[in-house]
């Protein structure tokens, strides 16, 4: 980008008035709904609450000290683990799908892409409730297994860690498929042929050519799955019951639940934001280093 700008000096200038005008709606939106709330969170995180759960503005580090408590570190660790497992499963499932999509010709490619998107047409909550109907003790899956005498007693499927991971994978899989598809589509099929020609079997050509060349798509997919999965609370709430609280549930509990400790919830949220910002910065620096 910078090279292009430098190459043609006439364009190397700030946007003019019309440019700012066009940017204005986005800028207002970002300030009102991203910057301002984030600032409020930061301010809250250094405050205290009174007995009624109201925020009292002081300056204290108590909330951050509490966040380092082993109880919360365990929840945090669990959240990271669940998000990591979810991301890994999504990546493994997404690659064959994205690859097939990228290699399919015109009319069918659009139809298959539509199948990936169709779940978005239904509310996320309704889809999660649908999973509950399938997984619960007297649900569809248990019913089928009992009917076919595969099992003697209903299996405990819902409200397990497995159910939470299933729900997360189901919710975020398209966010992994689409960016990988975007990368795979640009891959010249002749490169795969060249790899085969030079002695690669199917796995080797994946490891040596496909994976490195679709890494930008994979990286984008990882960001788009890992980050929201780590903060997700609805799925762990609905499909994990109260048994597997994630960090999202803890934060939610501070704001609208029984705990009613907005400053503490804000501190947890700020820690999260800082962590993601750090990860993103490291990732960005690495990719830029590779290009240069």
């Amino acid at each position: 980008m910078t090279d292009l700008v430098q190459a043609s000096p006439g364009t190397a200038r700030l946007p003019r008035f019309t440019g700012w005008l066009l940017l204005a709606p986005l800028a207002v939106w970002l300030i009102a709904f991203v910057v301002a709330p984030a600032l409020i969170l930061v301010v809250y995180s250094f405050s205290e609450r009174d007995e009624l759960g109201r925020v009292v503005f002081t300056f204290t580090l108590e909330n951050y000290r509490r966040a380092a408590d082993p109880v919360y570190l365990a929840v945090f660790g669990r959240s990271v683990a669940y998000a990591a497992i979810t991301t890994a499963i999504c990546a493994v499932l997404a690659y064959p799908v994205a690859w097939t999509l990228a290699r399919t010709r015109a009319p069918w490619r659009g139809r298959l892409l539509l199948l990936v998107m169709i779940p978005f047409w239904t509310s996320f909550l309704i889809r999660t409730y649908a999973w509950i109907t399938i997984l619960k003790s007297e649900g569809l899956l248990n019913g089928l297994l009992l009917y076919t005498h595969t099992i003697a007693a209903p299996l405990e499927l819902l409200y397990t860690p497995g159910a939470v991971v299933l729900g997360l994978v189901y919710a975020y899989l398209p966010f992994m498929i689409l960016p990988i598809y975007g990368s795979a589509e640009k891959l010249d099929p002749a490169l795969i042929e060249a790899a085969h020609d030079l002695g690669c079997g199917p796995w080797q050509s994946f490891a040596r050519v496909v994976l490195p060349l679709t890494r930008p798509g994979l990286a984008a997919g990882v960001m788009m799955v890992f980050v929201p999965a780590i903060g997700m609370f609805a799925i762990s709430d609905l499909m994990g019951g109260a048994r597997v609280p994630l960090i999202g549930n803890v934060i939610q509990d501070q704001f609208v639940g029984q705990a009613r400790d907005k400053p503490f919830g804000a501190a947890l949220a700020v820690i999260f934001m800082a962590l993601f910002a750090l990860l993103y910065w490291l990732w960005q620096r690495r990719t830029e280093g590779r290009v240069a």
């Binding site: 020609d197 030079l198 002695g199 060349l213």
Partner: protein
Amino acid sequence: MSASVELRGVAKRFGAVVAVDDVSLTVQAGEFLTLLGPSGCGKTTLLRMIAGFESPDRGAVLIGGADVTHLPPHRRDVNQVFQSYALFPHLSVRDNIAFGLRLQRLSRAAIEQRVAEIIALVALVGCEARKPHELSGGQRQRVALARALAPRPAVLLLDEPLSALDAGLRQTMQIELKRLQRRLGTTFVLVTHDQGEALALSDRVALVNRGRLEQVGPAAEIYARPATAFAAEFIGQANVIEAAMIGRGAELARLRVGGDFELSVPVALWPGEAPRAKIAIRAEKIRLVAAPVAAAENGFSARVEEKVFQGASDRLSLVTAGGVRLIAMAPNVRAGQGSFRAGDTVWCAVHPEDVVVLGET
């Protein structure tokens, strides 16, 4: 010499399109063979069958005497130079060239030695650490060549390898390619639609048309003795005209060409008792003179309809009195010397031995 590649009655169709129709061809070890033909003639499909990217519907593919018809590309002792080069963009020149060697599980030292050797061979010293996007077109071409040659394949396949280069570079690379092939003694099978490339490079040319082999032989032989009208017209510039036998002498036969002028050809060339046959006269074999030619010189007159300046020669479109259209070349022997102009009448002389009789009616 032994057979390096052998195609036995291979055929392939894509849906309703017959790409290759019963082709049998043997490439000798160390030979430079070119599959030449117009686009869509099936030459690339033939190459991809040897590489293993396509499997024939019928027939067999043999490499070094072994049947490889059902072997995948990575188990065949052939490597390909792709038309788009297909260099791995994420790997340096060195890693691209070492790609095939690493898969052969050679020792690190052996790989390094071979890479250095091949980089020197294709004159890429100093470019080892660069990525493909940092190279010029000609350099990319060399990397593609080096990458395919590094694992010492029995056969090197080249799919229109020079088509992406500009004219000057293409000629340089032609010479280098030929030199490389002679030096390595590897069997080269090249696909091209460029007759000049085929003539310049190959020991033998296999002319492909509509999924079939039209003629196989040394380039000079196909040029001098094309077997079919297609062969005559695709290689070089030839006038293919129908001729009728009007008089048979002891040595020469007299023909009426295109229902118009008369020409003599050696009677031995004429296909038996056939009353009519197609003949081909190469554009550059027509000698043009301003004064009438003697009957003994085997000539006829024509009017210049159009002249196209081509540098080394003028390309003339001629029409005879009877309406036969011919292309002839008038070489620019001396600067400023008056060539012919549109509207001029010229006399054309053709040596009887230069008339090609195509065995068809």
